[in-house]
Symmetry: C2
Subunit: 230 residues, 2 copies
């Protein structure tokens, strides 16, 4: 280690775009910043990376922010953001993660990062931006990724509870894509996609109308054929 530390040193953080579907609308988890910079403003949850993997840091933050130990859902890296001036404290490179989780974790724990709350993404995207740092951009990228994921992967089920109806699954697609889908064509499309969903044999009337069969996730990791939006 002769020339030790001649290179640039930076702080590394993870920021989270945590999405869920509530009342047929897409929501993101937002925190009120309790400390400078951007004190009092809204931001995405996140924090500094410790002696751990980036993914582990994201998992840790996710559990801290949602206040749950066994969060069910999906977590994947979005991308890194490293503009030299994105943080007034100095050089901070952040690695953003995208989390898709089922509604139940509604009660958000306060944690150290002040109050957290679910906000409709539609509202958050309105200009002018109220989010701290470059979090508006990160949120935008996360929403775009989420929309793409629903086309080719079965991750829409990450927004659902363990057992769900086709109608509930459809409302996930409608919320994320921001468009309505024909229930009948959607129904057949899902059932034709091998391994997407599996019948449990039970049914429910929680959505009103005729009882709907309940399904669980079928286990594939790619939708074949994909479910494409227009």
């Amino acid at each position: 280690m002769a020339k030790k530390r001649f290179w640039l040193s930076a702080a590394v953080t993870v920021d989270l775009v945590i999405l869920t579907v509530r009342d047929s609308r897409l929501h993101a988890l937002i925190v009120d910043r309790g400390v400078p910079p951007y004190q009092g403003q809204e931001a995405l949850p996140g924090g500094f990376v410790k002696e751990e993997t980036l993914l582990q840091a994201a998992e840790r933050e996710l559990q801290e922010e949602t206040g749950l130990s066994g969060v069910t859902g999906h977590l994947e890296q979005l991308r890194a953001y490293g503009d030299p001036h994105r943080d007034p404290r100095g050089r901070v490179v952040t690695v953003a993660y995208l989390a898709l989780i089922a509604d139940p974790p509604t009660p958000v724990a306060g944690s150290d990062a002040a109050a957290a709350k679910w906000e409709p993404t539609e509202k958050l995207l309105e200009e002018p931006t109220q989010l701290a740092f470059d979090h508006h951009q990160i949120l935008y990228d996360g929403l775009e990724r989420a929309g793409d994921l629903l086309e080719t992967t079965p991750l829409a089920t990450s927004f659902c509870s363990a057992e769900f109806t086709i109608g509930e699954l459809r409302r996930v697609y409608e919320a994320v894509w921001g468009q309505s889908l024909d229930p009948r064509n959607f129904y057949r499309k899902v059932k034709k996609t091998t391994g997407f969903v599996v019948e449990t044999g039970q049914s429910t009337t929680r959505d009103g109308g005729r009882p709907a069969k309940l399904y669980t996730f079928g286990g594939v990791d790619r939708l074949q054929p994909p479910i494409l939006r227009r």
Copy 2:
């Protein structure tokens, strides 16, 4: 800045997956490491980030490694890799970028990072891995991304010179996807995709056979309809 630097500090690098198509085969730019760690082994080109954007760092490295000032092509972020033990020197988070460039920049300058050379990606993916760090994984991810990009974006043209034939474009797809395509169906598919290519009015016989019309990139940023592989 009361509690200044209580957080983890890390070095930040960029690594590049630079792809091109030569002789109808996909190649990646590989350097021989002249310094430890992994001295003498093969690796992806890359370097430490300075007082600049991550993208700017990637552009700088790209130009240094290819020895060209105005590299034509495409450059986008792949993702970040931050395992605590990925670099024996300490905590180094790297942000990988994917570059797609046209063949002409064949003469690779030595630069400071020892010799650089084009290697067929097929050969590089063979086990056991000979690439330093986690560059095998990064290369794999880059190739996967490249394949996806060709489906929905016009970036195959980044592999071509300013003017190209449909046949040359097809050989790009075949090289990246590793599968042969029906020339006739491909031809109509490309021409049906609005804004993908534009006729120049000229033609060439450089591919042998009947003279082929020459095209330039049409300017769209999404292929509609997309060009999907089976």
